[in-house]
């Protein structure tokens, strides 16, 4: 059986009311009494053109929030028969740890009940409350028995850089359960989303995401996470991809000079990244010229690194085709099948589960 996988699809949470059946009774009552009816990140304002393509929106003009509508848009395109849901519902922004834990649990249970149980072709990421390392690990442990959860999702801008040792119990839980760590564009907003301060416009914040991916990768590499957690795979989701070669040239250069500072990094960072990091290929920041695209593809080790993604319903691509111009057919085949299957062990294990 040849699976074809869309590695980045976004289910929208329509309202807190939708999560209510999955909330602990206290939190269900408390959030209702507070009139707390939604949670939105400034990176994904519901009406912004980037948050959902107009023709993907539901009757109320909102990003699609039910499995049938999303399935109808996603499956069939490129012969895709599996899709990984990455909820960007911003639990990580909250400052109330208990509320974050309650909402993360409700979100994951809502995804299971309203999406995974409704369409056997769907898979999902586990959203973890980064307000508490202990609670994040517990949430992974709670859901790990369900093979339809195939990765763990965190924003590129976590409360602290992701390589720092305080986070390692989460990364170890990922590895223990064969769940890649998916780092998605976004922020916990514990610091400005650009390194120079708070941006005034969405375009600035969108453009700054690739900086965050670079810093997150630099942190994971220099802090030695890939050596300390040998079975951890990292997937960069919605990163834009083409910043990667310049970043690797730069960090390799600094590593050659500054190795004594991080003596546990015993190989060029580029070699570590090539072995352990994968990237979803949408959006792909490049000109339309196929010759330029081909050169970039060779620089990012595309045949092994890239995963097919529609990024549905987000809209950061110009045409209707999620595969950027200049991608050869053999690469597209690898992105759709070989690379997702080698990246996500649970996609292979769960194949039988839905048969």
């Amino acid at each position: 059986m040849t699976l074809r996988v869309d590695c980045d699809v976004h289910p929208a949470v329509p309202s807190i009311a939708a999560l209510r059946p999955h909330l602990d009774p206290f939190w269900a009552a408390h959030l209702a009494e507070r009139g707390f009816d939604g949670l939105e990140s400034m990176l994904f304002p519901p009406s912004a053109p980037t948050s959902a393509r107009a023709d993907f929106r539901d009757a109320g003009g909102r990003p699609p929030s039910d499995a049938a509508a999303v399935g109808a848009s996603v499956f069939g395109r490129h012969g895709v028969d599996r899709a990984i849901l990455n909820p960007t519902f911003p639990v990580t922004m909250l400052f109330n740890e208990d509320m974050a834990v309650a909402l993360a649990r409700a979100l994951n249970d809502w995804i299971r009940a309203e999406w995974l149980d409704r369409d056997p072709r769907l898979r999902a990421a586990i959203v973890v409350p980064l307000q508490s390392v202990e609670a994040a690990v517990a949430e992974i442990e709670r859901l790990a028995a369900d093979p339809r959860f195939v990765q763990v999702l965190v924003p590129a801008m976590m409360p602290e850089p992701p390589g720092q040792r305080r986070w390692w119990p989460i990364w170890r839980a990922c590895a223990r359960h064969r769940l890649p760590l998916a780092i998605h564009a976004g922020s916990a907003y514990r610091q400005p989303p650009t390194s120079i301060g708070w941006p005034g416009h969405l375009a600035e914040e969108e453009a700054a995401q690739s900086q965050a991916f670079q810093s997150a990768l630099a942190s994971l590499v220099t802090e030695g996470v890939f050596g300390a957690v040998p079975d951890l795979t990292v997937v960069l989701v919605e990163s834009g991809v083409t910043w990667l070669p310049a970043f690797l040239w730069r960090i390799d250069k600094f590593w050659r000079a500054l190795r004594p500072e991080v003596p546990w990094v015993d190989r060029p960072p580029s070699a570590i990244v090539r072995e352990r990091v994968r990237l979803t290929a949408q959006p792909f920041d490049a000109p339309d010229d196929p010759a330029t695209v081909a050169r970039i593809l060779s620089m990012v080790d595309a045949p092994h690194a890239l995963l097919f993604a529609s990024d549905h319903p987000h809209w950061r691509f110009d045409g209707d085709d999620p595969v950027p111009p200049g991608f050869p057919a053999d690469l597209v085949r690898r992105m759709l099948t070989d690379n997702p299957l080698s990246t996500y062990p649970r996609l292979r294990e769960a194949a039988a589960w839905t048969a």
Partner: protein, 137 residues
């Protein structure tokens, strides 16, 4: 390779180094605990003079947070980009199979042996009582 007398051995005591010119090439000679090691004084990266760099030790690690310090004085760091080279082997610590400084054979000969071999002694006056550092290049 012709051999060249480059200095009286006692002028480069343990823990010191010296740059010499041999047939138009810079050579840096290190005395590590009485043993002489010579390298071409030219970083294989971009040509920095290693003899102007910091001589240090080796830090290694098996896991983050662990620092194992050894071989003090046996690593030379290029003054330009801080690449670390093993003075004993010339190898670049980061990518030892990819970059290395050329090592230059060096030995100590008595003045008598220098005279017997008829080595060029025009730049370094030789007496039979003294010992001399000789490099092959």
């Amino acid at each position: 390779m012709p051999r060249h007398v480059v200095a009286p051995a006692h002028e480069i005591p343990p823990g010191t180094r010296r740059r010499v010119e041999v047939r138009g090439h810079g050579v840096v000679i290190f005395n590590l605990d009485g043993a002489f090691h010579a390298l071409l004084d030219r970083c294989p990266h971009m040509g920095g003079r290693l003899s102007d760099g910091v001589q240090t030790g080796l830090v290694e690690s098996d896991r983050p947070g662990e620092y194992r310090w050894s071989r003090p004085g046996e690593i030379i760091r290029c003054p330009w980009h801080a690449w670390e080279f093993d003075i004993r082997t010339g190898r670049f610590r980061c990518e030892p199979d990819r970059f290395r400084v050329r090592t230059v054979p060096a030995c100590v000969l008595s003045g008598e042996a220098v005279a017997a071999e008829g080595l060029d002694a025009t730049t370094v006056p030789v007496t039979v009582e003294d010992a001399y550092l000789v490099v092959e290049l």
